[in-house]
């Protein structure tokens, strides 16, 4: 019996060499391990053997069947793999052809910079508060301690509306939102807001646009100091211009804050060594700030004996110009699609 089995298996190993197609597999299965295959047949005359012999033969045949099965299955897998590979080969495409894409959208750099500031301040518990762009002289100037005829009004050549001189205007500063926020707060309790938005002044050149954007910050509470202002601005400027940024205070004057400071940051281009951007000083003036003037608090219903606070304001356009290296503010409002389309990725963190 052993010899028989050996012979059959040797024959199978020879046969299997010529197997090429799935049909060959079917055939070879039938020939060797099918219902009437050569190996199966070996079991047919078992009744003529003794139980011991049957057991022995059974074992031999089973081992042979397992081996035959493995040989055939291996071959079958080989053939199937070859067929699949051929199919996959045929399906290959030119992956270098252009993709199917719709236009790539983008958010305007001013939107992006505004959102960056908003997100930072919202994370610190500030509310984004927006007032109207068309404002009254009272809110934009008088309630900010800039009465009619005040010399500091000169610095902001204002777009008054027709027949509304010193009455209604396109707001010249987002500081006016301070007044709105304080008046809207009926409890006259603490305030923590930032106010981004468009502002308008009669000025136009490479660094000035008659329409631009500012962001104003205002915190009113019982124990707010210049040190809190500086700490807050340090967080803000590091976030926008990089971790190494340092903040410097210089005394200055704004009618709506007292004391007032102008705030410089270390030049992000040269790191403070001095370059053309910072005019060799190592510092760049970025914003104005100070402690809210008691007159401003009083005019909007706050008791300056109880509350004090800080306010700051900065030009968002300049921040965008710094961040994205835009040399001319007119580019920002030029709406050349080649400019706008560049703002189509996520910002660097």
């Amino acid at each position: 019996m052993k010899e028989k089995v050996e012979t059959i298996l040797t024959e199978l190993k020879k046969d299997i060499e010529s197997v090429k197609t799935p049909q060959d597999i079917v055939d070879i299965k039938a020939k060797y391990i099918g219902k009437s295959g050569l190996i199966t047949d070996l079991m047919k005359n078992m009744k003529y053997y003794s139980p011991e012999e049957r057991k022995e033969i059974g074992q031999i045949v089973n081992v042979a069947k397992t081996e035959a099965n493995e040989i055939i299955t291996n071959k079958e897998e080989e053939i199937n793999t070859a067929i699949l590979n051929e199919k996959l080969n045929k399906e290959a495409i030119d992956i270098t052809l252009p993709s199917k894409k719709i236009k790539r959208g983008s958010l305007h750099p001013m939107t992006r910079i505004t959102e960056e500031f908003e997100d930072l301040f919202v994370s610190m518990g500030y509310t984004v508060f927006e007032g109207p762009e068309l404002e009254s002289d009272e809110n934009c100037f008088q309630k900010l301690n800039l009465p009619k005829g005040h010399p500091a009004r000169d610095a902001q050549d204002t777009f008054y509306l027709k027949d509304e001189v010193e009455n209604y205007l396109l707001r010249s500063q987002t500081s006016t939102a301070q007044v709105r926020a304080m008046e809207a707060n009926v409890d006259k309790g603490p305030i923590r807001i930032v106010c981004p938005g468009k502002v308008y002044r009669r000025d136009e050149d490479a660094t000035h646009s008659h329409q631009f954007m500012q962001i104003e910050g205002l915190v009113i509470d019982k124990n707010i100091s210049m040190a809190d202002l500086k700490g807050t601005l340090e967080i803000m400027m590091k976030k926008v211009l990089g971790e190494k940024t340092q903040v410097r205070f210089r005394p200055s004057y704004f009618p709506f804050t007292e004391p007032s400071v102008e705030v410089d940051v270390t030049c992000f281009k040269c790191g403070g060594k001095g370059c053309a951007l910072c005019k060799q000083t190592g510092w760049i003036e970025v914003l104005g700030a100070g402690m809210v003037h008691p007159n401003v608090l009083t005019m909007s219903g706050y008791d300056p004996k109880v509350y004090q606070g800080f306010a700051f304001g900065t030009g968002l356009d300049r921040m965008a110009m710094f961040k994205y290296n835009i040399p001319d503010i007119r580019t920002i409002y030029g709406n050349d699609i080649r400019f706008i389309e560049q703002f189509d990725r996520k910002d660097d963190e």
């Binding site: 100091s225 500086k230 004391p259």
Partner: protein, 789 residues
Amino acid sequence: MLLSRKFVSDYIDLDDNLSITDIAEAMTGVGNEYDSAQPLINCTKLVTGEVLECVDHPDSDHLHCCKVNVGKEVLDIVCGAPNVRKGLKVIVALDGAKLPGGEIKKGMIRGQESNGMLCSIAELGLDNKFLKPEDKEGIHELPQDTEVGIDAIKALGYDDEVIDFELTSNRGDLLSVLGMAYELGAIYDKKVKDIDLKYSSNNDDINKQFTVDVKTDDCSLFLAKKAINVTIKESPDFIKERLIASGIRPINNVVDISNYVMLETGQPLHYYDADRLGDTLIVRNANDNETLTTLDGQERVLSTEDIVISDKDKSVGLAGVMGGLSTEVEEDTKNIIIESAIFDSIKIRKTSKKILRSEASNRFEKGLDPKRTYMAIERSCALLEKYADATIVGGMVEYNHSDVEDANIDITIDKIKSVLGIDIDKKEVISIFERLGFTVTDNKESLNVIVPSRRRDIKIQEDLIEEVGRIYGMDKIEGKSPVLDVIQGSYDKTRRAIKHKLADMGLNETMSYTLIPNSEVHKFTKDEFIDVTLNDPMSEDRNTLRYSLLYSLNEIYKYNKARNNPNISIFELAKGFFKDENGEYKEELKLAVLMSGEYALDIHREQVDFYHIKGVMEELLYFLGYDGRYSLLINDYIPSELHPGVSAAINVNGTNVGIIGKLHPNISKDNVYVMEINLTKLLAIRTGSMKYKELSKFPGIYKDVAFIVDNKVTSKEVEQVIKKAGGKLLTNIQIFDLYPNVEEGKKSMAYKLYFQDATRTLEDEEVMQVFNNIIKEVESKLSAKVRSN
């Protein structure tokens, strides 16, 4: 404000080791920024010399060959100046000298050696307004007693340094050398020296000869004195030098003294020729249309807003701004009336804005200290006596209604600490106030501070705190994190979501100007409103606040198309402005979209059509929760700027919130599609909320059907009939094929219908029943027939 170092050094001792930049930086540190800090004359290697010989150049008709003694040596120098001659004391630029015009190098000039240059004043870079004709025409002739071989800039008296300050509008006190001296004194802890006000008077009393009548509230203080028998001549050198360094052109001693005193004290003065004036001065508001010829010879037309000084008959000066021509001090003036006064700063500001900004008006605008008004008139008398041989008439005409006094403020150290956020002790605070020249009394609990009236910017505690901060050093304040309650921040999420949604759909956000031409403001809308225009626009192109954003977007399209970029899909969110029927100004948030050219790109490129922009609109309205609440209507809300056959009003819950469509060929020859939604209106409308719906566990059945209908039948009409006939089981309708003109005037529309019940598996039979009913209804209601391939 130009500050001369020499001038301020008359009143304070500044350490010689301090460079002019050191001083300017220190001033910046206390809040006084500067533009430039540099020597008055920016030249090197200039020495005095004497021309020992001067002969004509052999090869030139105008050059001279000179031998010039410069102290250490005698140099050969070729000079072309017409006035060069033997014996002249001259300014010599040595080899290597740097002048504004370039560097001087030795060399040969037409074969003759030249080892330097003899200079004119113009060549030293002095501003043109200070140059006399002779300063430009020839070399400068130094006085004969000038020592040879010394620094020529020093010999000229121009060895000064100047800081050009950009002062804040609250520090009017710094528009004076004395004010600057006090500020520097606080920085360097130095005392300010006294100003010399001594002079003698004759025995007459001006009040017996001259009266002043102030007839307006716009003048709070008016002083007049008289100086007689003045000699008009050139000013002494120190006055001329200090005026030049301060940017004022010397004229004659009398005029120069009035300017000199203004620079010193900050108080502008006016001198009248007393003999041309009469015996009375009246201060009053001008009459409407009153005319006055000012010093510059121009006739000015005035109004009641202006303040004038007049004699009995007519105005003789525009108060605070410019004197009148008729009483001007001239070469032959003998006797003068000196005016030192304070006029209303706002009135002066208005008048000067209208007529002329001058050194004087600038000072009046910022507000003046009455003590200085007195000081200035006394100082003026002292200088006129000394440098114009004047005799000062006794007495002074005095009108004083000023309420300006020294400020008296109580302040606690705790308050200073709490505002500045620094740890500072009482001793240091007191020292700072004293350095500033304030008088401090320590009342244990608090400090009482008396601030002299020259510092009119200081009125309240907070002003004093700023002074402490300035001198202590604002930058020494260390930043800390505010200790605040933990609260939730917030922002307008909807607006941000809209922007991001549109960008995600491939649109580029723009930001354009609010101001547009008035001719465009009523376009792209059928709304009736009053437009909002500017009083004084920068140009006619930007004189009106826009109502619709579409004008701007179309301008952006045209701009980019002209630059060969016709594929534009853009959006903008911005305010639209108007005045309502009650005269109230309103602003509304609007969203505008413009699409043209290719939307899908590369070899799959696809041109934008109406259905693209409609898709953008639907996606957005769906996203915002208005699914099933909006419709496109063809009504009279559609503006005439849109193609009448390719446009609609966007209507949400019965309100027209926007428009959508193709630009009318009259507006654009290109295929440009636009949409504008009034977000203020839209977002006021209630939305559906996003809630989970139970998923059906039971399978549904799809049925396809195509109808042939008249070309005029709209997709919406077909859908509505199908929906009504389909009833509850029909859960989805989708058009998947459209063939125009399958027959004459008819089109084929193929629909995929989905039937499902949430509670059970549907039988094919019952679905067929509904399906057949749908076919029947569409056929009968829309004269359609089912298409059988």
